[in-house]
């Protein structure tokens, strides 16, 4: 069955603070091992299990850091 939600992370706006990783209830976000252009480890979606709850969006201090999507009805 398809996941109810999905997330898009803007890795060049992300500062690797980790607050979204902490906030995500099913723990489907992680900090990447790679660096972005400013030397931060950007957050990334592990690729499965997002419920579309939206809390990572509110927990992220960057205006466009995270976009949360939900499965269209």
């Amino acid at each position: 069955m398809a996941d109810r939600g999905s997330v898009e992370l803007n890795s060049e706006e992300c500062k690797g603070c980790g607050l979204c990783v902490e906030a995500c209830p099913p723990k489907v976000l992680k900090l990447s091992a790679r660096f972005n252009q400013y030397g931060y480890h950007p957050a990334e979606y592990t690729g499965a299990g997002c419920t579309g709850c939206g809390i990572c969006f509110f927990a992220c201090p960057e205006p466009g850091g995270i976009t949360v999507l939900r499965l269209a009805a």
Partner: protein
């Protein structure tokens, strides 16, 4: 392939790009994990949600949030240290149809600006004040604020704040709640998901009050300053949750509907 549609995306009332240093126009100037960034997002969501972007005027302070005008595509004024409630008073009285927000840090509001906030609240000005309390002077590198917790080490209380030496932390909500005029006073925090979502609702309420003409509305947000506290953001969030809320009780102190 399943189809997904965005439900939470960058709020409209943020600019697409920010007029700051050339290569940084897609990022805020805040440190990683800074509470101001989260308060900005919650505020932007509330402005969008109420459909008031075109009539909002944001008065930004001196402190780390001095550059709020880089980000919010609303009317903006940046004012002298501590004076935001006085300027907001003038703006609101001369443009009553505008939604006027005074955004301030704890050094700005509770130290140098303690007179302005007290009297704006006492006059019951029809403005919304957002008070970001991170218990420190962030921008200037970590001097003690009136809201610094007892025992907390800062550059100006290197042994830790003591009541005998530096006085007790000032509880601004409780002080303002001793006045008759304010319509709404609440303290919220960014310490965990639940607290963040409560903060989102309360910020929206404080703006909605102004739309309805309810009266002076004040929201204190307990927020992390990971950099100056010398903590990782997640650890700093835990400090907000476990330590700051111990000194500053969360809750509503006034809710008088317009």
């Amino acid at each position: 392939m399943p189809e997904y549609a965005p439900v939470h995306a960058k709020p409209h009332c943020f600019y697409e790009r920010y007029e700051r240093k050339a290569e940084l126009q897609h990022q805020t100037h805040y440190c990683p994990g800074c509470g101001h960034g989260i308060v900005h997002k919650l505020l932007a969501q509330a402005i969008d949600g109420l459909g008031i972007q075109d009539r909002t005027i944001l008065v930004s302070p001196v402190g780390c949030s001095v550059f709020a005008y880089y980000y919010f595509d609303v009317g903006n004024i940046q004012v002298a240290h501590g004076r935001a409630p006085a300027v907001a008073t003038a703006v609101k009285r001369s443009r009553p149809e505008s939604i006027v927000i005074s955004y301030q840090g704890d050094g700005d509001l509770a130290a140098i600006g303690s007179a302005e906030i007290l009297h704006a609240a006492n006059r019951g000005e029809l403005i919304t004040v957002i008070f970001v309390n991170n218990a420190i002077y962030g921008m200037t590198g970590g001097q003690m604020a009136p809201t610094t917790l007892l025992g907390m080490k800062t550059t100006t209380s290197p042994q830790g704040r003591t009541a005998a030496g530096e006085g007790f932390p000032i509880h601004v909500c409780e002080l303002l709640a001793s006045l008759e005029a304010p319509a709404f006073i609440e303290r919220v925090a960014l310490g965990n998901n639940q607290q963040i979502m409560r903060a989102a609702r309360v910020l929206r309420r404080a703006l909605e009050n102004q739309v309805k003409g309810a009266g002076f509305s004040f929201v204190e947000v307990l927020a992390q300053c990971p950099t100056v506290w010398g903590m990782q953001p997640v650890e700093a969030q835990k400090f907000v949750r476990e330590k700051m809320t111990g000194t500053f009780a969360l809750g509503n102190f006034r809710d008088r509907r317009g």
